[in-house]
């Protein structure tokens, strides 16, 4: 059981990448990107877990008691904001694509190529 979280993270990443590469809808693609990103959240938080550790918040708990790693939580917070930023941009681009091409299928957007 002790490697299950890591396996979950790896699976989510692989599935997300498959979704990104084969998606037929830009909005679906944005969500697939989020799924791929969430594999890094799972991995980060699993890496920082300390057995029998509480939250790294010491109001009401004795300072010095076992707590999980606060650094990965801060990193995950930043990652989430990055994900929000990228999804917002891709959604805006999807709106533009729909206005200009009538479709949000990424395979149908090939205006420039070669």
């Amino acid at each position: 059981m002790s490697y299950l979280p890591y396996a979950v993270a790896a699976w989510i990443c692989v599935v997300g990448l498959f979704g990104v590469a084969t998606s037929r809808n830009l909005i679906h693609l944005a969500i697939c990107l989020t799924v791929t990103q969430s594999s890094s959240y799972v991995l980060l938080l699993s890496v920082g877990y300390v057995k029998h550790g509480g939250a790294p918040i010491f109001k009401g708990t004795k300072p010095g008691s076992t707590a999980v790693d606060p650094v990965v939580q801060a990193l995950t917070l930043t990652d989430v904001v990055v994900s929000v930023a990228v999804v917002a941009l891709i959604l805006a681009l999807a709106l533009d694509a729909h206005r200009l091409a009538g479709t949000i299928d990424p395979d149908g957007l090939a205006d420039v190529q070669g």
């Binding site: 990107l33 990424p106 070669g114």
Partner: protein, 599 residues
């Protein structure tokens, strides 16, 4: 002088916040002035930092969080002369692009400026950072700004497609990078680059470290548009406005390679065995240089051609880094300096052509720019500088790479830059001189032109292009630059001194007195440079007058080169699903290669 590094980030970012926040409140000339002042101030401070980093790494610990007992707690910027030099070039190119854009784009100017300033701050932060996650943050900031800037001309589908391809491909790379950070953090419990290097120096490279390294380096290689991660570059540069292309192609793509070098020399050098990491990078560089050079020759869209030229020079720079020697890194550095300025200049000229004639298609522009002597001279000079004619432009950097490269590598690298140069020469001759056939099926089908600005201050645009190209050409002959580049590379590679300064505050030995003279290059390099120039001219003429070649030559050419060319065109399909597929393939193959070589 350790107060300078944070300012290189804080000033552009604050200016970006002020610019977009006060959009409707302040008058336009004042806003223009604030933007240009912020960019110029950042550039000036970068030069000051360069001067002060000669003697020792300039280290700034944010928040005052110094190391405790060998554990780095806070985030630091550790700036040597190489990183400071990067910041100088970044500042110069962005400032030139901002001044160019003052007249080149009229609508949404404040939003444009805010994003360019954010990108400037992020690139400087990336060059200076000494913390792995901090590198990721700056990478993402410059990427987000770049995605939006690429899609600037939203009236057409092309910019949307380019921005989509750019965003999704690079974001995939960034997410792989984030997974790599998590893996490396699990192994070492640290995020500071110096401390990571120290921790990894004891013990073997297990699977964990090799996979983490693959993910981290591939994330940067995707940003740096190395084959097979390069497919987004041409789509993005084709549709972005000219000043954005100058920044993207001149500095932002190259900076991914600096990230690769930084990670190698500070963190992964201790786990390398027999230079295996560098070998894979060298191979990737060679393939990139030749493939992108070929693709450049097959283009009729000027900005796509320039995009592939950028990618081919990236290949040469990566090969220089992959050689793992001091001269290779110094050569890559000098190529970066020259190439950033020359490419920016050429993109500026392309923007002028687009504004003057409403077209960016080489065949449609045939002969239309006859008599525009100054842009023609700038284009020709820029091209010559990018081919590597002796003692102009990238020549000095290329010759340094030649010194440490194996005999079979050197001609391949020169071939790459010669191919790209041939394409640019051909385009220049066709557009400015009217030479060549009116049509060429080798170059693909005509495409719809994008709208363009008409109301521009042309002398300003031409002036900026001339300044960029002139500065780029001069890189090979600035006295003392070669020696300083070599010293900067030596410092960059010195992990022990970096760790001592960052983690323990121990100062470095004083620098040697460096001569102020033009670096002497070998006869081989002179011959290669001259040969590459001749080859480029010949190939350009062949491209211009293909119809007049004897029949048997054309038939033989069609038989041997036709199928590969068709395959290449098909692979660059413009569809993002294909691009992400290649990203996955490239990551898996590179990881497998390192797994086998480092086991």
């Amino acid at each position: 002088m350790s107060w300078i590094p944070p300012l290189l980030v804080a000033i552009p970012l604050l200016a970006a916040a002020v610019t977009a926040g006060l959009d409707h409140v302040t008058p336009e000339p004042l806003q223009d002035a604030i933007v240009v002042a912020a960019a110029t101030a950042t550039t000036a401070l970068a030069f000051l930092l360069l001067w002060s980093s000669e003697g020792h790494e300039v280290v700034h610990w944010f928040g005052g969080w110094q190391t405790r007992g060998g554990v780095a707690l806070g985030i630091d910027f550790a700036v040597g002369p190489l990183a400071a030099g990067m910041c100088c070039v970044i500042g110069v190119v962005v400032t030139l692009a901002l001044v160019y854009s003052l007249t080149f784009m009229k609508e949404a100017a404040r939003l444009f400026d805010a994003l360019m300033l954010a990108a400037l701050g992020a690139m400087c932060g990336f060059a200076m950072s000494g913390d792995l996650f901090n590198l990721f943050v700056w990478l993402e900031l410059m990427a987000v700004a770049a995605y939006a800037l690429t899609g600037f001309l939203v009236e057409r589908l092309g910019p949307v497609q380019g921005a989509v391809n750019f965003a999704i491909t690079n974001t995939t790379g960034s997410y792989l990078f984030a997974i790599g950070i998590a893996l490396l953090y699990a192994r070492t419990g640290a995020l500071n680059l110096a401390q990571l290097g120290q921790t990894l120096a004891h013990g073997r490279a297990g699977g964990l470290v090799v996979v983490a390294m693959t993910l981290l380096l591939c994330g940067f290689l995707i940003k740096g548009a190395v084959v097979p991660f390069h497919l987004w570059a041409a789509d993005a540069y084709a549709v972005a406005p000219a000043p954005v292309c100058a920044v993207l192609g001149g500095v932002m793509t190259d900076i991914g390679l600096i990230g690769v070098a930084r990670l190698y020399w500070t963190v992964f050098v201790a786990v390398d065995r027999g230079g295996a990491i560098g070998d894979v990078l060298l191979w990737l560089g060679i393939v990139t240089a030749v493939l992108a050079g070929t693709m450049a020759f097959l283009q009729r869209h000027l900005k796509r051609m320039l995009a592939y030229s950028v990618v081919s020079h990236i290949g040469v720079m990566l090969a220089g880094i992959g050689l793992l020697g001091m001269t290779g890194l110094a050569g890559a550095e000098l190529i970066f300096l020259a190439h950033a300025l020359l490419t920016a200049g050429l993109f500026f000229v392309a923007g002028i052509l687009h504004a003057d004639h409403g077209a960016i298609d080489e065949l449609r522009l045939r002969g239309r720019a006859r008599g525009c002597w100054v842009p023609a001279a700038a284009w020709l000079a820029g091209t010559v500088g990018l081919v590597g004619t002796p003692y102009v432009g990238i020549y000095l950097g290329h010759s340094l790479i030649d010194e440490s490269a194996a005999a079979w590598v050197v001609p391949l690298l020169w071939l790459g830059s010669a191919l790209a140069g041939a394409a640019l020469l051909r385009a220049g001759a066709r557009i400015f001189l009217g030479w060549g056939d009116a049509d060429d099926p080798l170059l693909g089908k005509p495409f719809e032109e994008d709208p363009h600005e008409r109301d521009i201050l042309r002398p300003l645009l031409v002036g900026i292009a001339v300044v960029a190209v002139g500065a780029g050409l001069a890189i090979s002959v600035v006295p003392g630059l070669g020696q300083r580049a070599e010293y900067a590379a030596e410092r960059f590679r010195d992990r022990g001194a970096y760790v001592a300064q960052v983690l323990r505050g121990r100062p470095m030995p004083p620098p040697p007195a460096l001569p102020v003279s033009v670096l002497h290059t070998s006869l081989d390099s002179l011959l290669y440079g001259g040969g590459a120039t001749v080859f480029a001219v010949a190939l350009a003429l062949a491209g211009l007058y293909r119809r007049r070649l004897p029949n048997f030559v054309s038939a033989a050419g069609e038989r041997t080169l036709g199928p590969p060319v068709r395959v290449l065109h098909a692979l660059h399909s413009g569809v993002v699903g294909d691009y992400v597929t290649w990203v996955v393939v490239g990551t898996a193959v590179t990881g497998a290669a390192w797994a086998i070589l480092l086991r």
